[in-house]
Symmetry: C2
Subunit: 382 residues, 2 copies
C-alpha cells in the first residue's frame, strides 16, 4: 500500500549541486545552455516530438529531427550515416550485437569504459585487452593493437570481429593515436569502433580523418543534452547490417527497436547543438586551461597521472597528502568532500582522497582559480 | 561543412500543438503536471541525477531514486523487483534477450504493438500469434493462448519460452482477460510478460492479481514523464536471470548496460508519480468519459471498433462519412486534419479519415464536448 503522505516529498526535489562549482567530469559537458532550458518548458511532455510522427523518430520533420540526423550530424561527425540512440553504451552494444557473432573476440583498450565490457557481455563476445603502459601515464600505444590482434588470431584461429578504442578514456583523459589504431584494424580488414563519449561535443573530431567505421557520442555527457541520449555514426557500407529493417514492419530499424530518444532528450540535443558547435571551436583554450590547472595542483603537491602535457579536460590526480590527512580525520576520506563543499566546490566523489578525477571543461579561469584556492586552503588547514 | 546560419533555427523550436486539444493516444498519458515542469528547470542537465552516484542509477539516494525503485514502485505494481528502463520496448527486449534462446518461439497476441515484433527479431525469437476475433471487435480470447501454445509444441517439438499479452493493445484499447492468460501460461510453466505501456500509470493494475512474471510500463506514454523512460517489474525468481551481474564489474547489471534513464526522464518519472497515483483513482471516470464520447461519435455516424462497452480511453473509430468526403476534397485525406485543427483539435494522424484512433484520457467533459462538436461541425460543413 502506497500512502499519499509518503509521496509528497517526490513532488519537489531540489538539486543542491546547482549552487556550486561542479568539477565532476560526468557533469561538465552536459550542462544545458539557456535555450535548451527554455525548450524544456515546451517539450517536456512524454512523446512531445511525436506530434507529427512520420513512422520513425529520425524521419520527423517537425521539429526538424530529420534534417538534424540526415544532414547536420553526418557533416558534424564527418561520417555517412547517423542515428540517435539512448546513449553511447547503447550504440556500442548495437555495433557489437549486429557485427559480432556469439563467442567472437574483440580487441579493446585496457582503459575502456566499463560499459564496453558490459555491452560485450550482453552481446556474448569476449574481450582481448590492449594494455596501457602503467603508472603514471597509463597510455595506450596504438601499435599494441597489432599485437593483440595477432594474439587473438593465434589463440582462437580467427581474427577479432571488432576493434574498439576509447577516445579519450574516462579515467585519465588520454587521447591515443586513433588514426593509427584505425589503420592497423583496417590492415586486417577488421571494423573499427571509436567510443567518443568524452570527445564528440567537447572537441573537434572527424570520423573521416580518423577513419573509423563507427563512432558513438553521448548527448548527456558531452553534447549539452538532457539524459539519456547518444548518437551513432557509421560508414555507408555498414548501414544495412547495423540498421537492418524489420521483416514485418518494413520501415522500423530492428537494432533501434523502432524509435529511441523521444521527447526531452532529442529536443535538447538539437537546441543545444549550435552552442556545442561554437564551444568546440574553443577547444584549444580548454586544453590550455586544463594544463594550467594541472600545473597549479602539481605546485600544491598533487600529481596528475595520464598524458603530460595533457590534451583533454578530464584529468586524474594522485593526492597522497589528502590521503594522509584522511587517515587521521574523524570523517576519514569524506573530509575532502566536506571541505571542498564548504568552499563552494563539488564533483569529487565523496570518500575519495588518494586518487580522483575531475574536469575543467567550460569553467572560467576565475572559477578554476577558486578550485585551486580551495585545495590549497584545505592543505593549509590540516 | 556546417554553416552557423543553418544552425540558428535549432535554438528556438516551438511546439505548435500545445495550443490545441490533443487527442493523440501517444500524448494523453505523458503530459507533465506543473511540478514536473518545474523540476526540469533544475534537473535538465545531462547527468543531473548523478551528483551522488552510488555506482548504479537505481542505488542513488539523492535524489531518492533508490526509495522509488526499491520501495514505491514494487508496491505500485505489486511485484517483487523493479528497475528503470529506457522504455517499455527496451523492457520487452530485455525479457526476451535474457529468457529466450535464439530460435525459440514465443506466443503473442495478434494485437501486439509493433515493438514486440521488432524486439523479437532483435532477440532472434519467432512469434506465434494468438488471433483476434476480427472485425468489429478484434478481441483476443484468452483461451486461444492454450491453442497457440499447443500448436507451437506440436510444430517445434517444444513449448514456447514466453507468453506475452498487450494490455490493452495500442490499436483498439481492448483489455483481454490477463489473469486467464497468466493461468494458462503457468499451467505450461511458461513465464508470462504483460505489456502494460497503456495501462501502468493510467489505470489500476496489479501484477500480483494478474499473476504475470514480468510487467513493463512506459513513462512517456502513461506515467506523465519526459521520454524516453520505462519500468520493468519481475518476480523474485527471475531476478537473477534478468538482472545478471557483470563478471568484471560486480555491481553492474548486464541487461541494463549498467545504468539506463539518467537525468530529465527519471526525475520527471519521480516528480510526476504522486500525480499519477492520484489520477489512477479516477479511472472509473475516465472509462465513463470514454464511453460517453464513443456514444456521441456513434450518434454522428462513426463506428467505434474494439470492445463495447469500452473499458479504456484509447479507442479506434471507423468513419466512412469522412472517407467519402476525402474522396472529393482537394486536400484528400488531409482535409480532416485541417478542419479539426481549425476547430482547436489535433492528434488524428494527418491523412487519416476512414480509420483512426484517439484517446480521451485526462480531458474534461467540456473539452471532449468541443471535440464532438468539431466532428459534428465538419460533417455538417460537407
Amino acid at each position: 500500500m502506497i500512502r499519499k503522505e509518503d509521496l509528497q516529498k517526490f513532488k519537489n526535489i531540489k538539486r543542491e549541486h546547482l549552487k556550486f562549482i561542479n568539477i565532476d567530469p560526468l557533469q561538465r559537458g552536459g550542462i544545458l545552455p539557456p535555450e535548451s532550458k527554455k525548450a524544456l518548458e515546451m517539450w517536456g511532455d512524454g512523446y512531445s516530438v511525436c506530434d507529427f510522427c512520420m513512422g520513425r523518430l529520425d524521419l520527423i520533420k517537425t521539429p526538424p529531427i530529420y534534417e538534424f540526423v540526415y544532414d547536420i550530424l553526418p557533416k558534424f561527425l564527418e561520417i555517412d550515416v547517423v542515428r540517435i540512440t539512448n546513449g553511447a553504451r547503447e550504440g556500442i552494444f548495437l555495433v557489437m550485437h549486429s557485427i559480432c557473432k556469439l563467442g567472437d573476440t574483440i580487441v579493446v583498450d585496457k582503459n575502456a569504459h566499463y560499459t564496453t565490457y558490459v555491452a560485450a557481455e550482453r552481446a556474448g563476445v569476449k574481450i582481448k585487452e590492449v594494455p596501457n603502459n602503467g603508472y603514471p601515464e597509463f597510455k595506450i600505444n596504438a601499435e599494441d593493437y597489432r599485437k593483440a590482434i595477432e594474439e587473438v588470431k593465434k589463440d582462437t584461429g580467427k581474427l577479432p570481429s571488432l576493434v574498439l578504442l576509447t577516445y579519450p578514456d574516462g579515467n585519465y583523459g588520454n587521447l591515443t593515436d586513433a588514426k593509427k589504431v584505425g589503420k592497423i584494424a583496417h590492415e586486417y580488414k577488421i571494423p573499427f569502433l571509436l567510443n567518443g563519449a568524452y570527445a564528440v561535443g567537447r572537441m573537434p573530431i572527424s570520423a573521416k580523418e580518423i577513419d573509423c567505421d563507427f563512432i558513438v557520442g553521448s548527448g548527456h555527457k558531452s553534447m549539452a543534452a538532457s539524459g539519456p541520449i547518444g548518437i551513432i555514426g557509421m560508414k555507408k557500407e555498414y548501414e544495412e547490417r547495423l540498421l537492418k529493417k524489420s521483416e514485418k514492419f518494413k520501415n522500423k530499424e530492428v537494432e533501434l527497436l523502432g524509435c529511441t530518444a523521444r521527447g526531452a532528450t532529442i529536443i535538447t540535443l538539437i537546441t543545444s547543438f549550435p552552442h556545442v558547435v561554437e564551444r568546440i571551436k574553443k577547444w584549444d583554450e580548454e586544453v590550455e586551461k586544463a594544463r594550467w590547472f594541472s600545473g597549479e595542483l602539481e605546485k600544491l603537491g598533487l600529481k596528475q597521472l595520464g598524458e603530460k602535457p595533457h590534451n583533454h579536460d578530464l584529468m586524474f590526480f594522485e593526492a597522497s597528502k589528502f590521503y594522509e590527512i584522511s587517515q587521521k580525520h574523524p570523517r576519514k576520506g569524506y573530509f575532502l568532500y566536506d571541505e571542498l563543499k564548504k568552499r563552494g566546490v563539488v564533483g569529487i566523489k565523496p570518500g575519495l582522497t588518494k586518487n580522483f578525477k575531475l574536469s575543467t571543461y567550460g569553467l572560467t579561469k576565475t572559477e578554476l582559480k577558486k578550485v585551486v584556492d580551495a585545495f590549497e586552503d584545505i592543505l593549509k588547514k590540516f
